[in-house]
Symmetry: C2
Subunit: 311 residues, 2 copies
């Protein structure tokens, strides 16, 4: 058995995007096994267990990932993760991966794949709410798919916004108000908000929105009125209605599950598409275990491993 502790930041974003895109295609064709995430509540947060089998890559395994919002106060990331990979022929554990950064990266890739298919144009202004690791991952991954002309960034904390602008020095990146973030072709929301922060009237027709932050029951970042204006695609129907951006509006009866246009997998395989140039499109990302398997395959090929005794 091998242990991979590597960060993953050295992986080529375009290569990861292709692997994640291919996993979404398999999902669109119904060629994967992936039960919904299972949540366990802990005193200061929760953890999620995400098993899957992706036959096209001969990859099977489980990611275990926590969310503890108070962690940064003691110098730990909010989200940490391990992925276990099993040999599909024998079930033998072949690898354990530190999937903390890999989780950020594969989530960035899902946004990039959604933007590739749904953004209104190929050269875009990117508006981003939030300046954490996920905001960074979204930019890195999306820059491999679209020409980023400008980045408009907002953080609740102005110092975090300044830090992000400095980090993005290869881009034309400006710290703006949340309303101004919406003057973009592609809006990406990456906050842990539990109340809507993006107002519907701020968003222009034709915009594509990647709603990344909401990944647990009770979380939402967008004015529900936006959902009703938009063509909404989810990563997985069961997960999104349970814990994605649509979960609260559906629970409150403001939005109907039947209104969801389809899955990103269906978009990737050409079964679903953007209807009109002037329609808002929205990708509701909760994070799929098959994304974790896809990036694990790359990390295992390219990373440095520690050999561990198993049998």
């Amino acid at each position: 058995m091998q242990y991979f502790s590597g960060s993953g930041w050295d992986l080529d974003p375009a290569e990861v995007n292709r692997a994640v895109e291919s996993a979404f295609a398999d999902h669109g064709y119904g060629l994967v096994q992936m039960p919904p995430k299972v949540y366990i509540t802990l005193p200061g947060g929760d953890f999620r267990t995400m098993p899957a089998y992706l036959p096209s890559l001969k990859m099977a395994g489980v990611k275990v990932v926590n969310v503890h919002p108070e962690n940064p106060q003691q110098g730990l990331p909010t989200v940490m993760a391990l992925t276990i990979i099993l040999d599909i022929a024998t079930g033998r554990p072949v690898a354990v991966l530190n999937a903390t950064r890999l989780t950020d990266i594969r989530t960035g890739s899902a946004g990039a794949v959604a933007a590739k298919y749904l953004a209104p144009k190929k050269t875009v202004t990117l508006g981003i709410a939030g300046t954490g690791r996920q905001a960074e991952a979204q930019v890195r991954a999306t820059a491999a798919e679209l020409e980023i002309e400008k980045i408009l960034i907002w953080s609740r904390n102005p110092r975090h916004a300044d830090r992000f602008v400095a980090l993005m020095d290869r881009f034309d990146c400006t710290s703006v108000s949340l309303e101004k973030v919406c003057d973009a072709d592609v809006i990406v929301t990456t906050t842990p908000s539990r109340t809507p922060i993006i107002r519907s009237e701020w968003v222009h027709e034709g915009t594509h929105i990647n709603a990344i932050g909401a990944d647990a029951p009770g979380k939402e970042e967008l004015d529900p009125a936006l959902l009703n204006r938009a063509q909404v695609f989810v990563d997985d129907m069961a997960q999104a209605t349970h814990s994605g951006e649509v979960n609260v509006p559906i629970a409150q009866g403001i939005y109907r599950q039947e209104a969801i246009a389809g899955t990103l997998g269906e978009v990737v395989i050409g079964k679903k598409r953007r209807e009109r140039p002037d329609r808002i499109t929205l990708f509701d990302s909760t994070g799929l275990a098959i994304q974790d398997l896809a990036i694990a395959a790359i990390a295992m090929r390219q990373g440095t491993a520690i050999d561990l005794p198993f049998l």
Copy 2:
């Protein structure tokens, strides 16, 4: 993060039995979080993901365990397992354990705890169907709870039975027919059978049966008529009805879920008990994630670890 590769055979059976008994008590009181196992089907078998949180031990984590029946043909165990343990305060992964043998041992302990509370007497003849690792684990664990006067063992393969008799040289152990196995105070079934092998008319009133083998949909070892004669206790209602000894008879309408007397946890806390000395009692074991957390706590205290970089 630490990796524990140890086998676990050096753990004290009585200590493990107490830890498992205590976990069942917590389960009986409703003090644990443990969603049902999630199954993924692979080409030559399956794997199960088992997350849980056991507040009394401050233990949270996930076991990932496969079942590949053809593995022994290539020198690999049918069942292999890893357990991941998370720090409950921060969600940080603190340990990965090779849980292959620990799985055998904690399953043995569940049988031992059931026999402690439900066996008709304290000095017993033990009848065992099957001679694999689980048969051995059941004897080791049960010997720490009851006086074992005699062991009657049956295997489909006479050489396996002879090997088992040799292994059990500290006991009065005899290889017998399957019918004769039932001339026991406690019967333990540990086979992977998908058709009933123990006939109801072979089993005397007052016997206690530990039904261990059935742990997936379609598996069964006992004549369904036995269920209707017996006071049936399960480890967990959702898991047992899905994948335990009762799963096939319930699916076929031969046994009713409502007839189940209760859980082992309820027996341990005194809420349920053997009704009459001359009634057959039956414990239907599917294996609980909280058993894995309980034994992991002991293995982490007593085992030797390899330190791994994580953050």
